[in-house]
């Protein structure tokens, strides 16, 4: 069962109409030739999808980014890489199931892929803790990124998390320290790092695998310091004000590109990545290939210097008149 978002209702209705017409004409010859009619409707559908999806506001984007059918990290792995071999554990007593990491082939090149996995069915969701990682997940990610550095492999990270897990055990095991250490370490890795926000970029839990040479965002993904719900309940003291909060937070890919926080937006198939996993993966693969090719030309020293420079520039300050 496909989940329909509020703003998709009209699209869905038209899709159903087209589908019905097609099956009708296939079933009964007496319907006559309605190819023209169907073509016209299909054109209308494309236009409608385009109009709706190119004007999504912050909260709508958040819903698309969290869409249950949206491709997850493992879907991209399947469609982009070959010979993926998952590696496990942080080597300090933690398994870290919310983050998946392992070796893979990108074309003829070995790479390390790391990313949040939210889980699709309920059982997997629970096993993955809905993509909210414990410190062990971040430490596993760091361990494997260090391995990538050792063997001169590029790192590709997939960001898709509501945030780092807020739990007692997470705090006891040093959630803050794990996130901080990842950023501290990723900044100086002597291999190319590409980070892609594929769904939800939830605050520190996202940034913990989000320091790299290129930051890409899928067209309908979001990236924010706090969730619209969290922001609404703190600043508006009303958790229903998610629309206003999402707008105020400027969490869309367009905003972040304008702010120069990200480097590139990867277009999604018409109507969102959840409508065509394969097509979404093909587009991302193309973007990854171009970026990797560029980064491979840069010497490690220079790579680190440019990365440091990139993050040094983040932020907006002005000198007030004293």
């Amino acid at each position: 069962m496909v989940q329909i978002l509020e703003f998709e209702r009209e699209i869905f209705a038209l899709e159903t109409q087209i589908h019905d017409l097609v099956s009708l004409s296939n079933m009964y010859d007496s319907v006559g030739d309605i190819t023209d009619e169907i073509t016209k409707l299909k054109k209308k559908l494309r236009r409608m999808k385009h109009d709706v999806y190119s004007n999504l506001k912050g909260w709508d984007k958040t819903l698309v980014a969290r869409h249950p059918d949206r491709p997850h990290m493992l879907d991209y792995i399947k469609n982009i890489f070959s010979d993926f071999y998952e590696l496990h554990g942080d080597r300090h007593g933690g398994y870290g199931p919310s983050i998946v990491a392992g070796l893979a082939k990108f074309g003829d090149q070995s790479v390390m892929v790391v990313g949040h996995q939210k889980g699709r069915e309920m059982e997997e969701k629970i096993a993955r803790n809905f993509g909210m990682s414990q410190p062990s997940g971040y430490r596993k990610a760091l361990r494997l990124m260090r391995m990538a550095e050792k063997f001169s492999m590029p790192v590709i990270t997939f960001i898709d998390t509501p945030g780092a897990y807020p739990g007692v055990d997470a705090e006891e095991k040093g959630q803050s320290e794990a996130i901080a250490t990842n950023m501290f370490s990723m900044i100086q890795m002597r291999v190319p790092i590409i980070c892609v926000v594929i769904g939800e970029g939830g605050s520190g839990g996202a940034l913990a695998i989000g320091v790299g040479d290129r930051i890409l965002m899928l067209e309908h993904s979001v990236y924010s310091v706090i969730s619209p719900e969290g922001c609404a309940s703190i600043l508006w003291e009303d958790k229903n004000k998610t629309g206003q909060a999402a707008d105020a937070l400027c969490l869309t890919a367009n905003h972040l590109l304008k702010f120069e926080v990200i480097d590139q937006i990867v277009r999604e198939p018409l109507g969102g990545a959840h409508r065509n996993h394969k097509q979404a993966a093909i587009r991302l693969k193309k973007a990854l290939r171009t970026n990797l090719a560029e980064l491979r030309e840069i010497r490690p020293d220079e790579l680190v210097r440019l990365r440091e420079e990139k993050f040094r520039k983040m932020g907006e300050v002005v000198e007030a008149s004293a």
Binding site: P166, V168, G174, C250, V261
Partner: protein
């Protein structure tokens, strides 16, 4: 009321100006007595929140503090507005606090040791970190590198500042990145955590100190206790996320009483900087082995 006011005879008019109730033991304390005791309850040792200026006074030798970057302010890049405009909130806070943002940074001397010091000001929007806080911390770190002096950061913050959105988040990466450079130069960084040190502040530079000290009872953590309670639907154990709890869980080096903070810092900095800087002279060098040593049992 400060001791100076007492001497010049400025009379408080209301009872609450004279007395304050300890938040922990409920003891009634003379405000002047509390001030003289570095804002620590004389009965139960509860550490009241300390103003940034008072903190600097407590740590730095008199008249040695030179403030930097005090005019940096946020241009409000998101044009953020909730029930009120961020610009207006900020204008009001700046006027009230006489500071431009939630941190004071500068250079100073601690018993003869030159240091860079950055101190959070909780009264400025909960000590939240936006671009200005991140920039001032980064510049402090860069000054520490340039002048080859240790850096001390005193955190007191609810976390990242929502009103600057993604820019606030990126300050975590920016400050952590600057600390990597500092670390490569082997310059000491001591992080002091005071009540509270939460969210994006704890999940970046605060937890990256070569040495991490905390004041007694300080709340330290990534997620706030309320958020955790809502998530796990359980009451939290007593003392959860307090400094002593974090010490027990191996996340900080020590819990230090406010009155001992300066002497502890001086002691630690002296030890950290006592390493020989110069190459040993030729004759002192251990001669290279010409033959490989015998393999010892593993």
């Amino acid at each position: 009321m400060s001791w100076l006011d007492k001497i010049i005879g400025k009379k408080p008019t209301k009872d609450e100006d004279l007395w304050v109730s300890c938040k922990k033991c409920k003891e009634q304390i003379y405000v002047s007595e509390l001030e003289d005791n570095l804002k620590v309850c004389p009965k139960c040792e509860y550490h009241f929140r300390l103003d940034a200026r008072q903190r600097i006074q407590m740590l730095i030798d008199p008249e040695s503090f030179i403030e930097h970057d005090q005019n940096l302010t946020s241009p409000d890049p998101l044009k953020f507005k909730d029930t009120k405009k961020y610009k207006e909130r900020m204008r009001a806070t700046i006027k009230k606090n006489q500071t431009n943002d939630a941190i004071i940074a500068g250079s100073g001397v601690m018993e003869g040791i030159s240091v860079e010091l950055a101190v959070f000001d909780f009264s400025f929007m909960g000590g939240s970190m936006g671009s200005v806080v991140g920039e001032k911390i980064t510049r402090s770190i860069e000054r520490a590198i340039e002048n080859h002096v240790p850096i001390i950061i005193v955190s007191c913050s609810g976390g990242a500042r929502m009103q600057e959105g993604i820019f606030s988040l990126m300050q975590m990466a920016k400050t952590s990145s600057a600390l990597q450079k500092l670390s490569e130069k082997k310059i000491p960084y001591i992080s002091i955590l005071t009540d509270p040190t939460m969210g994006g502040v704890s999940a970046s530079f605060s937890m990256l100190g070569d040495i991490i000290l905390a004041e007694p009872g300080a709340l330290i953590g990534f997620a706030g206790p309320r958020v955790i309670e809502q998530t796990i639907k359980q009451k939290l154990p007593k003392g959860f996320q307090r400094a002593e709890f974090q010490l027990e869980h191996g996340l900080i080096d020590d819990v230090v009483h406010r009155k001992d903070m300066k002497s502890t810092l001086v002691r630690l900095l002296n030890m950290l900087q006592n390493t020989p800087q110069e190459e040993p002279k030729e004759e002192e060098k251990i001669p290279k082995l010409t033959n490989p040593p015998e393999v010892l049992g593993a």
